[in-house]
Structures are given as structure tokens and as C-alpha cells.
């Protein structure tokens, strides 16, 4: 078990939330809260950087969907940064790679 740490960094065009460790049913709620508390500028990008995530279970996936729904309801968009093969496979298996913007590096956030 690796503890989950979530770090937020603001940029003019949006927000980056970096989640490091294990994202599972014991802590997935924290990712939702972190996304809820974040003030996303209208039309801004919410980047959830999972490149240093070690593990993600079904509750983690649920949290990612909730975060996406929230970002879109606020007029923004979600970008997922995924490096691990296991998480890519999970996103592929669940078909989420077709509806989520999955990238392999954090995009440059600039003012619109």
C-alpha cells in the first residue's frame, strides 16, 4: 500500500492535480474533493497527472469519471496524463480511453 498524495498547481489556463501513490476505495474521495475545491477558470483545462500513480482500482476509475463530469459541467475539460501500462490497459478495457482525453505528458497550460 502506497499512500496517496495529491498536489495542486495552478496555471493561467487551468489546473494540474498530480496524484502519486495508490488510488483506491480508501482514498478515491480525496481526488473528487481536490477537483471540487479547485476553481477552474471558464473554458480551462483540468489536468489530472497520473504519471506517478502506482495503482488504481474501480473506485479510482469512478472518481476520474466524477472529476470529468464536474469539469465538463463547469464548462472546462479534463485531460488525463497516463504513463503506466497497467492503467492504460484498464482505461482501454473499460473503453474510457475513447471518451477521456488521455495523454502521455502534461500539456502546456497557457492563458486563453
Amino acid at each position: 500500500m502506497n499512500p496517496l498524495t495529491i498536489t495542486a498547481s495552478h496555471a493561467p489556463g487551468g489546473l494540474v492535480l498530480e496524484a502519486v501513490g495508490d488510488l483506491d476505495h480508501t482514498n478515491a474521495q480525496r481526488l473528487r474533493h481536490a477537483a471540487q475545491e479547485a476553481e477552474l477558470p471558464p473554458g480551462g483545462l483540468l489536468v489530472v497527472d497520473l504519471s506517478r500513480l502506482e495503482f488504481c482500482d474501480s473506485s479510482g476509475i469512478t472518481a476520474l469519471i466524477a472529476v470529468r463530469n464536474r469539469a465538463e459541467a463547469a464548462g472546462g475539460a479534463l485531460v488525463l496524463v497516463v504513463v503506466s501500462a497497467a492503467l492504460r490497459r484498464l482505461l482501454n478495457l473499460t473503453g474510457l480511453d475513447q471518451v477521456l482525453d488521455v495523454r502521455d505528458a502534461v500539456p502546456l497550460l497557457t492563458d486563453h
Binding site: 473506485s59 469519471i65 497497467a86 478495457l93 473499460t94
Partner: protein, 426 residues
């Protein structure tokens, strides 16, 4: 230095005030020590008549020396319960042993109040061994008895709480077991010419799992529908989602004979029930099977679920790709992908949940994975449902603590033709 001289110098033992107190103690008379000792003293004749009593005990009892000495027996100082105990236990034991220590008794004061005491008695004998009198010390045990009572009360409360907690836990376990069973079919239906097998591995006895499966006729035993899936999360909320999913899929299968349509109905129902801020989803494979001569035609659809595996009667195993199917219940425009497969005699279709592929194995706790599962099944081929499920159950058991998720297995197959022939010949 002369140590003897040093010792002599030290005999005064320090300060003058200490020296004064020490000599006052030495001058303390034995009589005064007896009368005002911090415990009660009394001496009685062998018949219990009180011959001598100290002021401390008289003070506790609120009696005068004249009222007591020569007039009262030791047992007269006790409560009714104390008297009884004294007559039946205390006095006989004392006569037998000559000494009795630390016996808890209740005395009664002149005002009628109860005084809990601890009593120690010794029989004094003459030179030729004849018992002469009984010497008794009495300690006020009010505080101690209150403390003991409190200890007993606290222990009783703790024991009651523990019994209650155990009863509650047992009730919870029973409720969870019943609920878990309600999420799975009691038994798979008999399908002529088709063999089926299933297994459910529960990772935790106190946490409801989120895997489910079912197999049931849709019209007159000609066609059968089945499904197997996994809901997100664990516990009661996952069980509620499993229940909704299972009954929706059962109803949908009777309503529409298209597995993709069944998943769409489930998607709509789950989206309606769980809102955007609290999405819930499941992954599932839904299938419809129909006998066609010597074969069974299967129409499968997947919503974000690991691909079904076919173990062939002529050897080998292959996944039925349903890539692109999305998880069910969290996305309004979810796409589901279907596939058709024809099972020939000896073929077995295996549906499973990712507990098995996500299990950790070996010293490096590597994921067991899809390739290993395919190779394991291919190594068994040809294998009927029962043999396949039994072998996989053994595999799951072998994972030990590397398997921390529930796992459901459902296998459907046609017995090999040689089996049927030998059965017919028999």
C-alpha cells in the same frame, strides 16, 4: 578516618526535630498503640463473648466499652448475613485451623449502618494446647469493597457490551451472507446437452463483493440468457448496485433478445439512478445462447469487461475480443461491442471477473494477467466447464493473499462428441 567513630557520630540521625519524633515513638505505650491503632482489635472467649475491645473499633461501631465487654458476642457485632456466615463458616474453620485471615464480613453499627470489614482471627492456646481465647483484628474495608463493587460492575458492563457486539457481528454476518446469496443464482438451470459450472470466490467475509452472474431461460428452454460482471466499489453500496444491475439485466433479457440492447437498457437505468457527482458503473458481459443442431450459437456483448475466453475442444484457447465496449452506467453515450461465437462439441466458453487477472503472483507480486490465463486454459484444453472451473478454483486458491478481490467464474460448454457417444453406448 575511623569508621566506628563515624557510625557513632551518626547515631543522632540528623535534625533535632526528627530525633524528638523518634523518641516520642519509642515512648508510645503499648496500651495507647492498642487503643488507637488504625485497625480494630478485640479478644473473645472461645464461646465468642467479647473480653477486650479497642477504642478504634468501638468508635467505628458507635458503641461504648460497657455495652460490649462481657455482654456481647462477636457475632452480635455482625449483620444478619455476617452472623450466618460467621456461624456456618468462620467459627468452625477457625476452631479447626486456629487461624483465619482476610475474611470479608459486614458489621452493623449502633446507628444501623453496614460496615464492610476484613477480619483476621488467631486462637491463643495454653501451654498444653487448650484453646484459651480468640484475638481478632478488624480492617475497615468500605473503600476496598466499593472499589471491588465498581470493578465487578465495570466487568459486567464490559461483558454485556462484548456479548452484544458479538451478537451484532453474528447478525451482520448472517445478513451479509443472505444478501450476498441473493445476488447470485441458487443453482444454474439444467440445459439439455449443455454443461455449465460456476464459482464465486469471496475475498472478505465481512465486505460484500461486487461480482455477479446469472444464467436463465428466456423462452421455453430453447434460448438461454446469461451475464457476468463486476460493479465498482465494495460494501453495501456496491451490493445495492449489483442488485439493481442483476434484476435490470434479467428483465432486459426477457424484453429484448439483443445483448447490446440489454446493456443499453442497463446503462440508462444506472445513469438515471446515479447522478453525475456520484457516478456508479459496472462492467459486464451479456450473452444469449441458442442450440443449433450439434452446436450452440452464442451472441455476446461487452461493456468494458475483460474479454470472454473460449477453450476449444480440439486444443488451444482464444479470447473473444470485445474491445471498445465501454463500462456501463457512467457515460450517457456509452458504446457496447458484440461478438458471435459458435460452440462445437468439446468447446467451453469462460466468463470471469478481473479478480483472477489482477491477482498478484510470485516473489515480485507480478500481475497474473491475460496471457497467463489464456496459457493456463490452453494447457487444459480440451476441458469441459466443470474441469475448467475446478482447475481455475485451484489456481485462485494457490494465489493465497495475492488474490484480494472477489472473483466470479461462469463456464458454458458442449460435452465432447466422444463423451456423448460413450454415454449413448453405455
Amino acid at each position: 578516618m575511623n569508621p566506628a567513630a563515624g557510625g557513632s557520630d551518626g547515631s543522632g540521625m540528623g535534625l533535632p526535630s526528627t530525633r524528638a519524633a523518634f523518641s516520642a515513638l519509642l515512648e508510645d505505650s503499648a496500651e495507647d498503640l492498642y487503643e488507637s491503632a488504625p485497625c480494630g482489635y478485640l479478644s473473645t472467649l472461645m464461646d465468642g463473648t467479647i473480653a477486650k475491645v479497642n477504642a478504634t473499633l468501638l468508635g467505628w461501631l458507635g458503641l461504648t466499652r460497657d455495652e460490649v465487654v462481657g455482654r456481647m458476642h462477636f457475632s452480635d457485632l455482625l449483620t444478619v448475613g455476617g452472623k450466618l456466615y460467621h456461624e456456618t463458616h468462620f467459627a468452625p474453620l477457625l476452631r479447626m485451623q486456629g487461624h483465619l485471615g482476610g475474611i470479608a464480613l459486614d458489621m452493623r453499627t449502633a446507628q444501623g449502618a453496614k460496615l464492610p470489614v476484613l477480619v483476621t482471627s488467631t486462637v491463643k492456646t495454653s501451654d498444653d494446647g487448650e484453646p484459651l481465647l480468640i484475638r481478632t483484628t478488624v480492617f475497615d474495608a468500605t473503600d476496598r469493597r466499593a472499589y471491588e463493587r465498581e470493578l465487578l460492575r465495570a466487568r459486567r458492563v464490559a461483558e454485556e457490551a462484548r456479548a452484544q457486539a458479538e451478537a451484532d457481528r453474528e447478525r451482520l454476518r448472517e445478513a451479509l451472507a443472505v444478501l450476498q446469496q441473493s445476488l447470485l443464482p441458487a443453482a444454474l438451470p439444467h440445459i439439455p446437452g449443455v454443461e455449465t459450472a460456476c464459482h464465486y470466490h469471496t475475498a472478505s467475509p465481512i465486505e460484500l463483493g461486487g461480482d455477479f452472474y446469472d444464467l436463465f431461460p428466456v423462452d421455453d428452454d430453447k434460448r438461454f440468457a446469461f451475464f457476468l460482471g463486476d460493479v465498482c466499489g465494495k460494501g453495501p453500496q456496491a451490493a445495492a448496485l449489483t442488485s439493481l444491475t442483476r434484476y435490470t439485466l434479467r428483465a432486459a433479457a426477457l424484453h429484448a433478445s439483443d445483448p447490446v440492447a440489454n446493456l443499453r437498457i442497463l446503462n440508462t437505468v444506472l445513469l438515471d439512478r446515479y447522478t453525475g457527482d456520484d457516478p456508479r458503473y459496472c462492467t459486464a458481459v451479456v450473452g444469449l445462447m441458442e442450440r443449433s443442431g450439434n452446436t450452440v450459437d452464442v451472441h455476446l456483448a461487452s461493456g468494458g469487461h475483460p474479454p470472454a475466453l473460449v477453450v476449444r475442444g480440439d486444443g488451444g484457447a482464444e479470447y473473444l475480443s470485445t474491445r471498445g465496449g465501454m463500462l456501463v452506467g457512467a457515460l450517457p453515450d456509452a458504446q457496447f461491442v458484440d461478438v458471435h461465437v459458435r460452440l462445437r462439441p468439446g468447446d467451453t466458453l469462460l466468463l470471469y471477473t478481473d479478480g483472477i487477472t489482477e491477482a498478484r503472483t510470485g516473489p515480485d507480486r507480478e500481475l497474473y494477467g491475460y496471457e497467463a490465463l489464456e496459457a493456463f486454459a490452453a494447457g487444459l484444453a480440451p476441458a469441459g466447464p466443470r474441469r475448467l472451473v475446478d482447475a481455475l478454483t485451484g489456481l485462485l486458491r494457490g494465489f493465497g493473499d495475492g488474490l484480494d478481490d472477489d472473483t466470479a467464474l461462469l463456464a458454458i460448454g458442449l460435452p465432447a462428441r466422444t463423451d456423448t457417444e460413450s454415454e449413448n453406448q453405455a
